[in-house]
């Protein structure tokens, strides 16, 4: 342990660096919150303040009055939850098999993940659009969910394979020696150990789908189906002009679900991320 002991100035430096990093990460969000509560004239002030001089809820009122934010948030929630659940349901068994039975299948899966990440949205969108149109899935949340599942599946698989590998196979063998069948071993031994990883993966899929803009923009045609990121762009005009106050208010509300989910599941995610960090 003595090798890791640090001097006081070094420790101070580490904390300062950490603090600077946190400030860097938090700055956009805090500025967004500040903007959401500022009246229009304050947004055009030459000396902007962190704390609004005359805080107002007018931006929130205007945002809700002008755009169907609740309906859009509902659509986003349905699409993101469904995408996350389906992606995890499909990826988990696949990841288990791929991780436990190393061979050509694992190599192929890994190759698929790497290749799939190389395609930009714009390259796949038109073929995808045509395929979904054939399936009558244009302008439907089901179609969007299908796209989100396919889009997040490779990375979800990649993540989960790491988590599965981190669960020692010896534990499963020990359960088998004690008389547990394959299903019992999976349910009672592997699944609990894998849970943090599954949660982290689901969260990743959820946030990816919740924030996704381009597919939703292209695939959803009617206002009733539009998701939150698409509706947020309705506060933007030409040449970078924006209705800043309502945009900030709506964007602030749009970030809340992700924050709440992260806050609630923080421990599990940390557990999941740490799993496999130390070789057993």
């Amino acid at each position: 342990m003595s090798a890791f002991r640090t001097t006081r100035p070094a420790r101070l430096g580490q904390y300062l660096a950490l603090l600077a990093y946190l400030a860097f990460l938090a700055f956009p969000f805090l500025w967004l919150v500040s903007t959401a509560f500022k009246p229009a004239p304050e947004l055009a002030s030459l000396h902007p303040t962190w704390i609004p001089r005359e805080p107002t809820l007018a931006n929130f009122r205007q945002a809700f009055a002008e755009q169907p934010l609740l309906r859009a948030a509902g659509n986003s929630l349905v699409a993101a939850l469904a995408a996350a659940l389906i992606a995890v349901a499909v990826a988990t068994p696949l990841a288990y098999v791929t991780a436990r039975r190393r061979g050509k299948l694992a190599a192929a899966a890994t190759g698929w993940v790497v290749i799939s990440q190389a395609f930009p949205f714009v390259l796949v969108i038109i073929p995808l659009f045509l395929v979904l149109k054939r399936l009558h899935l244009i302008n439907s949340l089901a179609g969007l969910v299908l796209v989100y599942v396919v889009w997040s599946l490779p990375f979800a698989l990649w993540m989960l394979m790491g988590y599965v590998r981190a669960v020692p196979a010896e534990l499963e063998e020990a359960a088998a020696v004690d008389g547990a069948g394959r299903l019992r071993t999976l349910v009672s031994v592997t699944a609990p150990l894998l849970a943090p990883g599954i949660v982290a993966t689901a969260l990743f899929a959820f946030v990816t789908a919740w924030n996704e803009f381009f597919f939703a923009l292209v695939l959803l045609k009617t206002p009733e189906k539009q998701t939150l990121p698409v509706v947020l762009t309705h506060f933007l005009g030409a040449e970078g002009v924006a209705d800043l106050g309502p945009l900030a208010a709506a964007a602030f509300l749009a970030t809340l679900p992700s924050l709440v989910v992260f806050a609630l599941l923080q421990r599990r995610i940390t557990g999941g991320v740490l799993a496999g960090a130390v070789k057993s």
Partner: protein
Amino acid sequence: MSRARLLAAVLTALALLLTGCAPGGERRADGTVRLRFQSLAWQKESVDANKRLVAEWNARHPDIQVEYVQGSWDSVHDQLLTSFEGGEAPDIIHDASDDLADFAHGGHLADLRPLLSERLRADIPARSWETTTFGEGVYGVPFLQEPRVLIANRKILQASGVRVPTPRKPWSWAEFRQVARELTRAMGPGRHAVAWPLREPVSVSLNLGLSAGGRLFHREPDGRVTVRFTEADAVVPGTVRAQVVEDGSAPRTTLGSGGSDTLPGFFAGRYAMVPLGFAYRQQIVQQAPEGFEWTVLPAPAGSGGLAQGVSPQTLSIAADSPYKKEAAAFLDFLLQPRNMVLLARGDWMLPTGTAALADPSLRTERDGWATGAALAAHLRPAPAPSVRGYPEWKDKVATPAFQEFYSGAIDTVELRRRLVEDGNRVLARYQRR
């Protein structure tokens, strides 16, 4: 049901599922035609005006119902491109003339010539129709446009005693430079007469360049377009550069800014004038501190008078729409003079229609409407957007060249070399035969 029938039913259902769906408009079982109208209106007044007109149309035409869909300027090109390729584009499309060329050449937009009413064709001037004419066809109705104007701090201007320009007697570019020098001196240190927001330097330079007789793009006898940078083309860029680099009457800091970014400094009295699009007046009304007095001045004039280039907002009909006539009837309704006024006021822009432009509400001195209306007759099609290869010329050659020129990093000779030599190489690739 026999097995054979069941199998046939399942196969039919599958076939129906797998076949494509009808593009854009549809006819319901009761015979009602449904049209999708994608509007890019985004400000409350403008969205309200559009929705109101759609509701009015729907009430009057129960057999042709229009669905209002809000799009976004930010992503409209990519969205439309995908929709066109997939055969799912809206029937009626709101866009801008500088975005139409690719869609028109790609056959995605309907030629409106056989569809438009004589009234609408006659109401909009020929120079506006030019912005949406590609080859032989007309692919959009230009309906709203905005000149670039000088929005000025009235008190600073009055206190300085400089001559205030009007559309009848505008400043020349040389006079503008001189006035800016005087104003800057009078305003004191840390303040500037004019703040140029030049995040998009090419369109500003080209459009205002028309006032000095600049053209930059020339069609050769063989039909090809080439770039030439003449003395006239150098007037506007030269004036701006001199204000920034030599006179100090314009700050360097706003060169990379968008129009909105200059407003805090304008409201704080740091800048006396900001050249902005006419529609920025709405932001000024919303955001200006209490008691702030502002006025709208025409942009300076040159040998080309008050001419400047514009890319009007347009309404088009998708080539795939099965109900083009119905869509054209809706356009005709939407662009009746009374309605065009509503749309123009909602967007704080000028209507292209001559009847709408004559409306007293657009001729009032309040909020600078009268100045804008007086400039309408001088607006011309933006010089380049219909030139093939223009987007690449703009992004790869002209934008960095103008940015470096305005900041003082390169001189006129180098600017000319880049725009002409590098630029023509780019254009040539698009015009090979």
